[in-house]
Amino acid sequence: MQLTQPLIWLLLFGQLFKNVAQLPGFGGASYIDYLAPGVLVMNTLFSNGWSGTAYIVDMERGVLDRFLVAPARRSSFLIGQLAYWAVLTIIQSIILIGIALLVGARFAGGAVSLLALIAGAVLLGLSMASFSNALALRLRQQETVIAANVMLVLPLCFLSSTFLPTTLMPEWIQTVARYNPVNWAVEIGRQTLDAGVDWGIVLSRLGWLAALAALLGWLAVRSFRAYQRSV
């Protein structure tokens, strides 16, 4: 069920923009090749963005308070939930890579580059999940969390090389894309397409994503404490 959306993106956009790949700047790759890593990253954002909604349901039903009066360690609630999203991201990514292969995408970068892509997706997903959790714990409104998810994901994707190479973008978008975490993950994805993987790009982007995940994780912890104080 969760995969319906990325399938639509992959198949529909893959068809719609098929000829875009003939523009200079794509380097001759087929558009489905080009699109597959981007759709994988976008799917990660969309699904991890739901993370906070679970907190809101748990708050409303008193489940969170029930957990908090149990002697389990406080950190385990946040970590356990993030672990769930990490596993889900890995499973979804593997399925999406499989489907991309089925519809004709080829990842010349090899298995290790695909692993790096999945790792990047997991880190970006954890950042998104933590952000969503922080929002949920502070604002406690289902609508806000869902709206933030949609309002954030699409612009971030369009301001990255998810659909088009940066060389085809206006200059200001290129600048934004450079600082856009979604673009960092997509850049790792791009490296899976070419046999000559630039490991410098892969590792630096992974590092930036890890730093972002840590920062937003810290924000979520602080929001969790704020919730505890407000009970």
């Binding site: 029930r66 009066v69 149990a70």
Partner: protein
Amino acid sequence: MLGHLEVNPIMTPRSAPAAIEAQGLEKTYGASVRALDGVSFTVPRGTIFGLLGPNGAGKSTTVKILTTLSRPDAGSASVAGVNVLKHPSEVRRVIGCVAQKNGVDLEASARENLALQGRLYGMHGTDTRRRVDELLARFELSRDADRPARTFSGGMLRKLGVALGLVHRPAVLFLDEPTTGLDPVARSDVWAEIRRLAREDGVSVLLTTHYLDEADHFVDRLAIIDAGRVVTEGTPDHLKSELRGDAIHVALDAESSLDAGRQALSRLNGRLRDLSIEGTTLHARVDDGPSAVPNVLALLDGAGARVRTVTVSRPSLDDVYLKHTGRTFGAAARSSCNPRTSPRAICERCGASRCTW
């Protein structure tokens, strides 16, 4: 003279601390919402103790502090002899807590909810499974154990909620409004189970309620809490017997002067206690109520007040509440109701079916 020697139910041996001791708990939310203003009480071991008060009196806040969910601004508390503020994680091991919202994960089955709860308390595989089966049987949920909890009725959810609080065999159980919103049958089921827990398993129970009849019939001791303070504490019978005389409630016609009525009644000199007015009703207590009624009527008639109804009864908990807070429980409940949050025929907050909101 040994005539005054009484067994004090609070007295417990030194080696066995009280189930709960709260000392001067204070809590303010935000800048100005004073939830608790010095709450103190003691719950002897093995008893069912009730915190009675209208919504907003501070019952839930007290429970949150005692169950380590929230911290007081001042005061101290211990549960089963363990200091709540200094050793919260030890307290968490010995208490069970059933919040007002059940805390049931509706997407999971009853069995899954209970099993996860066991894990949260560090229980192991076979022990958890045995305990879960035991609780499912005890709360008559075995047949529905594997259905998602969202298909459960309100009564079943409440039972599951109580079962969740018992998985790790706590010594002290907290129940925040365990019967609010339940139909009479489900309510008496829940009560039977709470009694069994206290009588057979020796669990000490602290529960909050805003139902006077529950407080009157089911708890061993109770504390009446109003505006963040405990106004009185004791067994229901003791609290009622403290009120001398019979309760008399006189409802006057809307046109009658309440002041005239009050003055007329004060001429019953010596026999009248705690006269108060609420709306168009006079509340008071008189010695030998039934024989005083003709006198009361004559005095009011003489003052030109038209009487609609007169009720004479043994003092109830409502009269106890009236004496200590200056208003009846029903009026307090209504004043705490917010029409925006409870625009229902049966008021969610005060539980009254005739709540004027």
